[in-house]
Symmetry: C2
Subunit: 147 residues, 2 copies
DNA sequence: TGCAGTTGTAACAACTATCGTTACGACTAG
DNA sequence: CTAGTCGTAACGATAGTTGTTACAACTGCA
């Protein structure tokens, strides 16, 4: 069975980064650098900057440039849900239709697209509903409870 | 914005193939060949055989070899949900944790894994619940209604 | 028995996405 | 001005998916 290495770890990394910034700020610091975050996540600072750039465009984080620069939250942890994060970094849907248009002469080929789209819409809605239930404040609480 | 070509179209193709077999059988034929199915799906027969091989292992389809060979359903369309199909072809989870272990010395790095796992478990459960609501009989009904 | 048609599966190329990395310009506090 | 950091381009390595060719295995039927 394949190990599916390509599964999305972006949501995990993004939640990790934002939670780290939030905790760091609560401990009295103004900004967190991509290098500090990368150390906790165990990856390269550029990976963090790339991800935070998307979160910044979505209005979840802000950056300060120049010396003494770094990242801060644009909203409180309690005001950011995992759905907010998901939407900021995952543009595509979970399920896709055919790459090549199926045979329109065939009854199934003609009608399968709309039929599956209806199902996929419901699935995506359920997924979003579930992600919206958890805020980064909840995540931080779980993290601190585990310590 | 990325076009995300890598999104899963497998579930669509698998549902298409099984529905096609089901309809073909209801019209009086015993078996359907991978070439016939591939024509409707607009892809290569080997792609269909690869997919049906997995569905066969999961007990959703059966194949007959030799001359006059082909594929048939192992259960009625009404007894196959999209969750059955999904589980047969998608081994991995939708969301993954970090590829590289995060810093265990860091509070966040240490506790983020379990925290996100709890969320992901709920999300996957919701996704499965939603997929289980629809049978291939429902899909076929929608398909025929659209015609 | 032999032939024809189909499955089962390996192998390969093309394409795409992701990730880690290096590099460097832009920016700004001190 | 200088040092430190962001923002982003570019590149190679890795891996997943799809389409394709090829061929052995199998079996109904003449």
């Amino acid at each position: 069975m394949e190990s599916d290495v390509s599964a999305n770890s972006r949501l995990t990394i993004a939640a990790h980064a934002l939670t780290w910034i939030g905790l760091y700020q609560r401990r009295g610091h103004e900004v967190a650098t991509s290098e500090q975050i990368a150390t906790s996540v165990n990856t390269n600072p550029v990976v963090i900057r790339r991800l935070l750039a998307k979160l910044s465009k979505a209005g979840l984080a802000d950056s300060r440039r120049g010396a003494g620069a770094g990242w801060m939250l644009a909203r409180d942890l309690a005001a950011i849900t995992l759905l907010d994060v998901y939407q900021a970094i995952e543009p595509g849907p979970v399920f896709a239709l055919h790459r090549a248009t199926p045979d329109p002469e065939c009854v199934v080929g003609h009608g399968i697209g709309p039929a599956m789209t209806a199902v996929y819409d419901d699935v995506e809605a359920a997924l979003r509903r579930e992600l919206a239930k958890t805020t980064l404040e909840d995540v931080l609480r779980d993290v601190l409870k585990a310590a």
